[in-house]
Symmetry: C2
Subunit: 410 residues, 2 copies
DNA sequence: TAAAGTTTATAAAAATATAAATAAAGTATC
DNA sequence: GATACTTTATTTATATTTTTATAAACTTTA
């Protein structure tokens, strides 16, 4: 009876509603009306259509604020699904979520070396297709694929300049073509920041700095409520900020860079050196051990009270705090979140970081910034990948229309 | 015949058009339609009304881009006026502009000491009222008053925490009430940044850092095309970033802060000390000279080739460059603009600043950022104050309506 | 406990914006 | 140099959106 598509305009609003409900759990017509600056009848019409289409469900009445109670609406969890993928240098994780961020299939983890591995791209695609097939969910029910990855990522072009070279071709185009599902990519630290701001400890905050403590030291920046990437997408390069005069030589050629002084990899190297010099510690150094394994061992040992490990991490924490003090001066964030692999020793890091911030910040600035530890932990990047897809959800219709027009023009 | 007010909705679009034409000189119906995502008839209707109301004029045809030439529309220069005010610690400037940023009356400059001067507020108000009366332009023709001032400014509350205390009352409310004209305030460095991005050398750029080289070292940040102020409005606090280990003691209690090492005031003090020690220079040190006068003398001397002055400024420039290197790592700006009082020696500062940026930045980042010198110079703050008013122009109608509603509710 | 004031929801009429058709004024192509 | 194609502008019919009025559900106050 009704036309299949009611034009870009109407479905634009509906997509905006779905997106908002994904992020905000439940809202009333009145609330959405206020938010989008549309009349209540317009919202009510859109909501009714969305209910008929199976995207939205009624979700009970909210408490009254002095008048008639609003009927709340939520997104229907299984209306669509999102495929989230998190890569680090060595491992890939794939996980399908529903619209309430619940996993709807077991997570798939597999080794995927990114550095100098020309087959990585093909391997990842293969695993994605296998994973989707195995979940038995039709592809058109998957709203999109979000991929978080280390390296310098150009989000608009969909290219990673560091890893996963597709011969200059856009990675997003590659995956979109090969899977038939809209794909979006971003830097791992950026996605962790996104996750913390949408569903984590920095929820709804507008100025948030998220530190990704891993083998390197990453920074994801939320500025004015949105991911900030800078002019060329290279913003947040905290790793090469100087924290000591004439310190260790960094790969970049300078001395005293944060990454060369305080990354988990450096801490591990210092641990190995210390053991060789006979430091008493519960850490065992095996000549065959990869320093990345040593890194994990240090986190364990520190949490178990090993003095040497704690000492090393405290030293690293103080230097991180010094860099954060500079960051606070420039950005004046509401919240700094410690996230990533190193978040599990956050309790040990907190004190020296906070101490350095207080020492190196003018009080007015340090007083305005709260230092918090991630609660999402290891899941942050996957959640962030999921968020990335939904962030683009309301844009997709318009983009597709203009894309189609361009294609026709050719 | 026609109703006076055609509702918030229609006039909202018209205000958006006026604002856009103020910033962009001339645009066509088609261009505005694309920009605001409104149909051409809607735009045409609004434009016609604006022409009847005397806000907009036809501005000839633009060259064809392969079809019928678009008829361009511009804002009518004398449709409204803007009162721009620029304060520094010692002096106030008042200037009335038309909508093409042309001065429509002589600039008024007068001494106004901000520090520990409880009468400053009243004096400023008096001069404003005198100035307006003298121009003979009716108040309802003045779109707003924009005031730039040093100190920590809370823009939303309209309060300056450092100067011009109005007993906790909002400065914007004070001036709006006392003059009958909507007033907006902001930090001087922020307004300089705004001016550079709208009408200066960084025009239309989205990621811009503007350095206000004055007695202190200020930073105005344009992020994602908009002024960035941070969570508490304190962002861009470049002055207390460490640039030397164990350097000069700063007012803030730390050592080696940029401001304590490289501000114009410090350079002046170093000059005085150097002369006392017998350095050969064209600079003359009079025991009665205020060090601020010495600062101006140094700028002169350096431009005239005085080696000592150049040496002092080069040293300061290198330290500023060191701080900018950090800024570039974090913000990845497209452009850094040198502006403010010190811009007149920019040619001397450029080399050491650029040198330090190259030395302390990883190449990928320094390559993406251009270092430029302001062309607006001393006018920047006034232009910025004018921009501030127009930035708020499209918001005002809605804000007034909601404000009026609140007032009625009481 | 009744009355008054809020907030939310729905259904009608009224206002507004848009798409489609048409015209006008160019450029590019053969 | 005529024809086809672009881009811009105007008009009209169509579609959408909002206002206004009304009702419903609830809190607060007298």
């Amino acid at each position: 009876m009704e036309p299949e598509n009611k034009g870009v305009r109407g479905s634009q609003l509906k997509n905006m509603i779905i997106k908002k409900l994904y992020f905000n759990k439940a809202m009333s017509c009145a609330g959405l009306s206020e938010l989008f600056d549309k009349s209540i009848p317009s919202i009510a019409k859109a909501i009714n259509e969305l209910m008929h289409e199976g995207f939205v469900v009624e979700d009970g009445y909210a408490p009254s604020s002095g008048g008639r109670r609003p009927l709340m609406y939520s997104v229907k969890a299984n209306a669509m699904y999102i495929l989230a993928i998190a890569l680090d240098q060595l491992t890939a994780r794939i996980q399908l979520f529903d619209l309430l961020n619940n996993p709807v299939a077991d997570m798939l983890t597999f080794e995927l070396k990114l550095l100098n591995n020309s087959e990585a791209l093909g391997q990842l695609l293969e695993q994605i297709n296998i994973y989707i097939k195995q979940t038995d969910i039709p592809k058109d029910k998957i709203a999109g694929i979000g991929i978080g990855m280390p390296g310098f990522v150009n989000v608009t072009e969909g290219i990673n300049y560091t890893y996963l070279d597709a011969g200059g071709q856009s990675l997003t185009e590659y995956f979109t073509d090969q899977t038939g599902i809209d794909t979006y990519i971003d830097n791992d630290s950026s996605l962790i920041a996104l996750a913390e701001q949408k569903f984590g400890i920095a929820k709804a905050q507008k100025e948030v700095m998220v530190i990704n403590l891993g083998w390197g030291i990453g920074l994801g920046m939320i500025v004015n409520g949105k991911l900030f990437r800078g002019h060329n997408g290279f913003a947040g390069e905290l790793s090469h900020i100087p924290v000591t005069e004439d310190g260790a030589l960094c790969e970049c050629g300078k001395r005293g860079c944060l990454e060369a002084e305080a990354s988990l990899l450096v801490v591990a190297q210092k641990a190995v050196a210390g053991i060789k010099q006979g430091r008493i510690t519960s850490l065992k150094y095996n000549i065959n051990d990869h320093s990345k394994l040593m890194g994990d061992a240090i986190l364990e040992a520190a949490n178990n009270g090993d003095q040497f490990a704690i000492e090393l991490l405290s030293d690293a924490g103080y230097k991180i705090g010094k860099a954060l003090a500079i960051l606070v001066h420039i950005m004046n964030p509401a919240i700094i979140v410690l996230s990533g692999r190193g978040a599990k020793v956050a309790k040990i890091l907190m004190a020296p970081i906070q101490q350095a911030i207080h020492k190196y910040c003018i009080p007015r600035l340090s007083a305005g910034t709260e230092l918090l530890v991630s609660e999402l932990g290891f899941d942050a990047e996957l959640i962030g990948a999921s968020v990335l897809v939904m962030e683009n959800f309301d844009k997709s219709v318009k983009a597709k229309v203009s894309k189609a027009k361009k294609a026709i023009a050719k």
